[in-house]
């Protein structure tokens, strides 16, 4: 019973992180995108997955990880997140500076922009 619970938690976490990455990797739109945009977009998708892992690690919700190891992983993933955000913003800036400025100023006309 406990093993099933542990397996389910880790499987659900792996799915939550990996399914969006797999979906993006399988997108037919990739054919029309440059390497910089693909790298920048992927960094964003991976970063969103890692953001989910962070509170689970520090809150001790992931079975089989000691508090110490969870905290260590949290620190390392925090560093990876900084790198991912830099790659994401930098890559999209190269793709289109005015669109990136709109995104950074929250004036981007996309549905998920907070100001619109």
């Amino acid at each position: 019973m406990r093993l099933a619970r542990v397996t389910l938690i880790w499987a659900a976490l792996a799915a939550a992180v990996c399914v969006p990455i797999a979906a993006a990797a399988a997108s037919p739109l990739l054919a029309w995108r440059g390497p910089v945009y693909i790298l920048a977009g992927s960094a964003g998708i991976i970063a969103l997955g890692l953001v989910l892992v962070q509170p689970l690690l520090i809150g001790g919700y992931l079975p089989g990880l000691s508090a110490y190891r969870g905290r260590r992983a949290h620190h390392w993933i925090g560093g990876a997140l900084v790198v991912a955000v830099v790659v994401h913003v930098g890559g999209l800036w190269i793709t289109s500076p005015p669109d990136m400025i709109d995104a950074l100023l929250f004036t981007s006309p996309t549905p998920f922009s907070p100001s619109v």
């Binding site: 029309w32 440059g34 005015p98 006309p109 549905p111 998920f112 619109v116």
Partner: protein, 162 residues
Amino acid sequence: MTTVVLNRRNLLAAGGSVLATGVSGLLLPARAQGLAPTPSMSGGSNNYRKGAPTVDRIGKGGFWMSGTVRRAGDGAPLAGQRIQIWAHTTEGQEHEPQSHGATLTDKNGAFRLEMPQIIPIFGQPHGHLAYDSGEFKTVFLRPVMRSAKETSLEAHFVLQPA
């Protein structure tokens, strides 16, 4: 500079009303009195290149951008107006010269330009259109496709004197 608040709801409402007034305006010109000018859309001027050449077709084509240009107030169709069009397509990114082109409105104030298929970029499949010829006030539009699979897009201009 005023900030145009543009969310999906506003865009749909504005787009719908422009469409509604546009259609009724064309059918019933007498009802078009007091037609308001089209405001520029948020992000509409991104990657604009001044002076895009007038072309028969952008790249290899396959996608249709169309619309109308009318005068604010009486809604009269404006012929011979130059509309510049650009987008991220299967043949190039938004900022690249081959992604840009311009066309002129016919005697009914309508324009129609074939261009390569638009590809979503920065989260939305969208095109850019500009009126920037001086006679009327400059307007930048950024219409969004309902689906990336669509093969046409419309944008309508109501211009006011500069």
